[in-house]
Structures are given as structure tokens and as C-alpha cells.
Amino acid sequence: MSQENRISGGQIDRSKTWRFTFDGVSYQGHPGDTLASALLANGVRLMGRSFKYHRPRGPLSAGSEEPNALVQLRSGARQEPNTRATVAELFDGLEATSQNAWPSLKFDAMAINDRLNTFFTAGFYYKTFMWPASFWEKVYEPIIRRAAGLGALTRQEDPDDYDKGFLHCDLLVIGAGPAGLSAALTAGRAGARVILADEDFRMGGRLNAETLEVGGQPGADWALGAVAELSAMPNVRLMTRTTVIGAFDHGIYGAVERVSDHLAVPAKGKPRQTLWRIYSRRAILAGGATERPIAFENNDRPGVMLAGALRAYANRWGVAVGDRVAVFTNNDDGLRSAMDLKARGVDVVAVIDARKDGDLLPGVRHLKGAEVVDTAGRLGLKSVTIRQADGRTETVAATALGVSGGWNPNVNISSHHRSRPVWDEGIQGFVPGEDGPPGLTAAGAAAGVLSTHGALAGGQAQAVAALADLGIAAKAGDLPRAEDAPVSIVPKWYVSGGKGRAWIDPQNDVTLKDVKLAQKENFSSVEHLKRYTTLGMATDQGKTGNVLGLAVMAGLTGKTIPETGTTIYRPPYTPVAMGTLAGRSRGKEFKPFRLTPSHKWAEEQGAVFVEVGMWLRAQWLPRPGETHWRQSVDREVLATRKSVGICDVTTLGKIDIQGTDAAAFLDKVYANNFASLAVGKCRYGLMLREDGIVYDDGTTARMGENEYVMTTTTANAVLVFRNLEYARQVLWPEMDVQLISTTEAWAQFSVAGPNARKLLQKVVDQDISDAAFPYMGAGNITVGGVRARLFRISFSGELAYEIAVPTRYGDALVRRLMEAGQEFDAIVYGTEALGVMRVEKGHVAGNELNGQSTALNMGLGKMVSKKKDSIGMVLSQREGMVDPNGYRLVGVKPVDPKGQLTAGSHFLEHGAAPVIENDGGWLTSKVYSPHLGCDIALGYLKAGDQKIGKRMRAVNLLAKTETEVEIVSPHFFDSEGERLRG
């Protein structure tokens, strides 16, 4: 039979019928249903299995606090585990499956854990799997991982988009129940910019789940009217399906809007969810309250629910969860649930009231001073065993049991800045403390005011007060008439005397016994209790169980509840998908590539690219017939050294430095001297950190009296610029010096090789003969009339220039150079050939500039001038850093030219065991030198400068290689530098 438990009424659209499936079985529901309400309407109570014992479970709640009814939604790449059926909106064709059960939800093999429950008590990890230690990773953990866990990931890429957005408002109202609607109306009418956010797809909060009247009409209708009025206000933004997940600093709130979760597939161009950052000047927490259960034996069976949830399913969704319903309560609100159900024609078989005093409900069996001691029904509730005031027990057949232990104000958001909530004896619950997030106040049930009138009045009053703070006058108008019943409750946390298990945190299977055991073993502080038992650590974060657990602990330790206190509340309020936090920043969009000006040209040549920092650079450019990368790289190196090669070096950082103190400034930031640099010349500069370690290097050119162009390494371009600004503004604030980063402004190419000048002379407009443009010269020139910069510097060791043109001319320049270079067989080389040539010349790069090495280590100790104060100068003289036997940069060659070197190998004396005590240093960079016809490398070797000519072993235990090597000068090629002066 279809929808056998559907009764009349509710806010569902019965004119439309939707089909959906759960574990492959087809059911019907209506627009306005949640997956849970639709399943319950179809008589399905069993929706999941618990985490540890694999106990059969149905929904406990009708909202976001749900610990039990976790399911997987959809299939394929859109499959989403651990979705709460109680808040999953139904749509036509929805596919849901159960999780944490095998082979089926009704027969779950892992339910054996339930029989073994005596082994799985609090702290069982610590007790059971302690030893032997080697068993943990290999034996215990795989077993536990297989047994535990909830839903499974698809391991497919999520096909949907997730967005991020920013909003600003005067007043953020969190929650659109009576308090929130009242606050938003008050502020909206006053003209304030208001955002009203609610996690539900329908605004109204509890008004939608109640039969109470507001202003002489049903509460849900009043809410519709309020929403209609707010919708018409241009200064108010209404956000349904939007959960405020946390209060951050200075009025910033995070919110997740489920834009398309209620659709099978997001509409074209729409995100699945949006993460909002809301900047509010003031905020009101009107997040309502969450009902809590009472712990008694077998209180976790499908059909045992919060009483307010039973009432919500009946009133809002037209669903009677069971044909025979009992209610167990310690407060008047539980009685309201019983009477609402009765009014809807549901058979209320007993109202078990923990309170001894007070009036009896008319027309139902109302048992005073009674309690529920047990339940029966393996896959769903069948009966309830009651102990009456006189001690007599009786078993009553029931298919649903509503439990109400009172209502906990949802204080989470108000406690996100570590504010501890305060115990309110009158409602037996925690209310927001005084020192919550600045600018946030609470209203309505969230503030511990549980009546409808109190919510409407509180929302209005808090809105008036918040706006008054901002200088906006808001009127406290007449409030619609609403119930104002006082709270009547007696503390009742658990039913004592039982031998079985009574659940406190149903998702993580934390029972009364576990709390008792924790107390006995002295894990009695709430923070210890949480970690020892895992109370409140599940996906629901203990929204229903935490206060119950700590109240039990308070009773066991003889302390009061406020003395016992709560654990710390942290964002997010409800679980947030990782994709939502990532937004668009995923895959290649997480770190987009920057392309060099010659990228398109290089692509046309079939270049192989490599990621270098944020850039994509050509690694080598294969020619037809080349099948191995080494063939391409060797050719590029040989061609460059024989004639001419071109390389795009745009990625190096470029900083223009100007001002009358620019020279003095460079003397501060570089370890070597710059004041003496002549106009029209370049110099290699070495930059240290204040701790004396080498930070960066590059060449800097003096383009005019007060005008310099600095280059940095690709990796440090941003950081060096930051440090220069720091030096300029903070350390030497009176210096007349200005900076601008021009890394993106100039396309820069290295032109290197014996024919470099001949080639360039064909392209540039000025005379660049050795006399006109000597070694280390720099100047402004033109290329076909386009302004350009030319630097005669060399990284390759060849006669070389770097030529820069405005970036938009970069593509044209590489094409022009290649065309003009045809007669010289010019080639373009990539980063691999660049690396080979710099190792051949003994230049340091990233592997040597490793953040641990000094100038002395690099053989550049003399560059650090002690005649001037520069960053890092003083501390580079520290004892440990000037050790004459410390690491020195050396060159390394295999003794046998066929011998292979492995980067990362360690230097050992002959006969020395490969242990740390014998370690002489390590090999930093290795290349194959086509000129020398063998592997060559650079390395750091202890007292390396004294070991030139020595034979050692280069041992790599990871790569399992060992090669006999000769320690040589790091300058393998043209050590006199004749070629670059040619």
C-alpha cells in the first residue's frame, strides 16, 4: 500500500506525486516532503545502522540535529554519503541507499558487534589494541576501518560547481522561526539592510510544525504572511536552504546555501552549493532549540523518536509515524505532542509522565510519576515497557514512542568565540553566555525563551536594540497575539535500574554504561568524557546527546550541571562538504598556470612543458626523430655552445627601484656592494635573510643615476618584493626609494652562444659591439622602434644577453629572433638545457639555495661585505656558520666516465659505513654534460674546498646506487670565463 501512514493536513502539495527509491524499492511522496517524512509516510522506519554496534536505526528527529537516519543520496559521481534523511528534500526520481550495512539494511553481518558489545566499551581502542605495537598498522587498523565508518565515497570527480560569495548587511538574522521573522520584520520596516537566513527550505521554523495560532491565524499562515511582507522589501534578503555555520571575527559569519541540493541535477550555470561570507554589523541568533531524549534501555529502536519530531511529522508533513503511539516526557511540551497527535486521530496509547504532580490530560491514559524501562522490536518498535509510580511494570504495544527530555537552546553560534553557555534552571538547559561574539544577541528559544509570544517579543526587542546601536531607529510595534505558556519541567536524564544499554549518543553508540565507566576510570571532565567515549564526536556533533551526557556525568560525580560545564562549540554548525569549502579552487583552478610570452610559439614547436612555481615553462623542445628527452636536451646545449640558443626567462622576478637613496637601499638588501656599480652596468647580487642564510640571488642593473632594475629567482619574486617593501617602509623609512614589480610587464629572453651578438645585432636598432656594449653592460635600446632593455649577462657561461621588450611584443620577438637566427642555426632551449649549462658553470640554483646554506657554503663568502650594514650580515658571522670545515660547494665527477651519479647521494670516505656519523655531505644537482661526455654534479661537502682532487663514494641508499667520484672545482666549463667576455 502506498503512503499507508499519510494522514490529512500538512504543508505538502498533494496535487503532485513524486516517485523515489530507497535501497531500490520504489515509493511515493509529495513536494514539501523530506526523504524521512516520505519514507515514514510509506511505513519505512528503518533507515540506517549505527556506527559501532550496527544497531538498526530510524530517524530520531525531524531536523538537522539527526544522528541516525544517515543515507546515501543519488548515484554515480553525484553520490553523496552521510546525508541526513530528515533534511534531504524530496525530488522526483530521488535515489537513496542505506549505508554501513552489509549485505542489507535488514540483515547486517556486522551487527555481530552488537553481540560483542562488552568488548567495545568506552576507551576500547586504548585497552584492546595496545600491543604488540607492530600490530596496530598491519592488523588492528585495517580491521577497525573495515568495520567502522559510515557512507562511502564514489572516488569519482564531483561534476558540480561550488561557489563562494560575499554579502554585507546591517543585521543578520539567523533562523526564520517566530523570533527571527519578528526581528527581520522590525528591522526591515525600519529600512535596515537585513539578511534573514534559515537552514530549512520553508521559513517559519517551529511554526510550521505546530497547531498554535499567531495573530488569530495558524502559525504557519502567519509565517507565510511575514515572509510575503519581507519579500516585498528591497532592503531585505531572504535566504532559505542556508545554514549559518559559524561566527567568525568582527561580525563575519559563514553560511552554506544549498542552491541545488533539492534538484536531481543543478540547473545549467547554477552551483550545487554556495559558501557565503556575510559581513554583518549586528546579528541576532534566532536558531531555536533542539529537543533532547531521555536515556532508557533500548531507547534506540526505529520508532523511538523525539516527541516534538512525531508532532512535526504529523502537523507539517501529514504523517503518523505509528498507528499506536506512546509519549514519554518530563515536561509540558511532551504533553502538547500527545494532544496534537490525538487531535489528528492518532491512537495515543499512553502518556508516561515523569512528573508526579499536575493535571491529567483529558481523554488519554496519562500515567504520572511513571517511566519507560525498556522497549522491544528488533527492526522497529513493537512495544514499550512502563514502570508506574507504584513500581508495577506493564508492557504496552506501540509502534512509535515520542520522548521529550526538554529543549536545549541552540547556543552553538553564540559559543563559537569560546563563550561558555550558562545553565538556566527554569528550562533545564544551557542559554547563551554573556561574552559571546561581539554584536551578536540571541532571541526566542535560542535565548531560552520557549513560548511563541516570548519569541515574537524577543525578536522585536533585540532588533530594536541592535539597530539603536547603529543609529537606526526601529519601532517596537504591536505584537500578534500568541501563546505564552510557562515552561513546566522536572530534571529527568535517565531511567535507572536497567541492566541493558541506554543510548545517549546514538550515532557513535555511547551509552549510559560508557559514561559510568568513563567516570569510574577518572575520565570525568567533559573534555575527557568526550574523547574517551566519543560522545558528541559524530557527524551530528552531539546536538541531541551532549547535554544529556554531561548531565549524567554531573549526577555521577555529585557536581551540578553548571559545575560540570560543556565542551567547546566549534564551527561548522552542521557538516559542510569539502567541495563547498574548496569552491572553484579545485583541479587546475586551484593554482592556475601563468604562461610565458613565448608559450604559444613553444606549443607550436611541440615543446614539453614543466611547472615552475606558478609558471608553465618549456622543459625541452623535441625535434623530429628525437625519441628520448636527453637527445633534445643534449642537442640544445651543444647548439647553444656552438652557435646560439634562445631561452624565455620572463619568469624571473623583475623589480624597478628608483629614488635618490636607491643605491644606499640596495646596499642594505644585498650582502655585496652596489653603491659602486656604474650607470649602464649590471652586477650579480646575493641576498641574505636576517639569520645569515642565503635567501635569493639575481642580477641588478643600474639604468640611471637613481634607477635600477633588479631580477630575482622565479620562486621568490613575490617574497623578495614583500621584503623590499618591508625594508623600505619599516626598517629605513626615511629613504627616498620607490618600488614596482614589473615581472609581468616585460618579456625577457636570454640569447646565448658565440653568435649571440651577431644574431641580436640583426634585431636591435643600436650598435651592440663589444666596445659599445661591454660585458655586464645594461641599457635602454629599441627593437624595430619598440622600447627594450638589454643586459649583457650570462647564466650559461656563453657570450650572452638578456633582452626585454614589453610583454605584448614577446611572441613577436621570439619569432623574429628565430627568423633572424636561421643563418646561425639558432635554437630555443628549455629549462633542462638551462640547468645543464648552469651546472657546467657551477652556478647555484634552487637545489643549492635550499634555505639552509650560507654564502660561505656556496663558495661566495667573500661577497658578504662587512664594511656596510646589510640584512643578514651580522648573523652570517655566527660561530656555527663560519666553520672552516663546514659545507662547501664542490663539483663531482664519476671516476669512471660511464659511472652514473644520483642526486641526493651522500659522500662517504672509502671503507666508511653508510651511517650518519660518516656523512660527508650530499650531492645537490646532477646533469649529463654533453661536452664532458659524462655525468657531472654539484654538491655540498664538508671542508670541500680542501678536498679538490680527492676520491670518495657517492652513496644513495634509497636509489641503491654507489659510485666512486672525484671531487673537482664546481666550474666544469670555461673556468676562466673567456667565452662570456668574447
Binding site: 613575490v718 626598517l731 646589510s870 651580522v874 658571522q877
Partner: protein, 94 residues
Amino acid sequence: MIINHPILGPRDSQEFVYLGSAELMNRPDGMTTGVEAFHNWLYNRDNPAGEHRELWYHEQGDRSWLVVTRNTVTHEIRSVELARDVAKAMGRTK
């Protein structure tokens, strides 16, 4: 967090880079200060639970270095100044 930039007004802290204590501004003169004193300046700083003067850099903005006086417990920001102004007031010159 929101940092009230003295020139640009309230800006989200995402736009900034954090460095550390504003004590770092007291860099001694390298020509007259020994290794020991320099070491103390670089490495030994207080890490208070409470009010803390610290350096922030508006990297995604106007490149100003700022001195932000922030309570490290509550994140309340009491004042924001241009570091250059603070440095000059401290007597730092060229």
C-alpha cells in the same frame, strides 16, 4: 577578521600577509651591534595571550606594512597604523 586600514578603510584579513611581532621593527644597527644582541632581537620575542602589536602587509592591496594592535585572545583590534609612521616615530631613519 577585518583590519581597518588607515588609508583604505576596513579590509578583510585575507588580503593581508602576517609577519609577527612589531618588536621586529627595532632592528639594531649592524655596524655597532654584536652577534649576541642581534640574535636576541631576531629570535627572542614575547608571545602574549592578550594585546599584541604585530606587523601585517597589505599584499593584495596597496602594499602598506601596518602595525596592528590586536588582542590574541579575543581578536579585538584596538588600532591600525602605517608601519612607516610608527617607524619614523621610533626614530628610524635611513
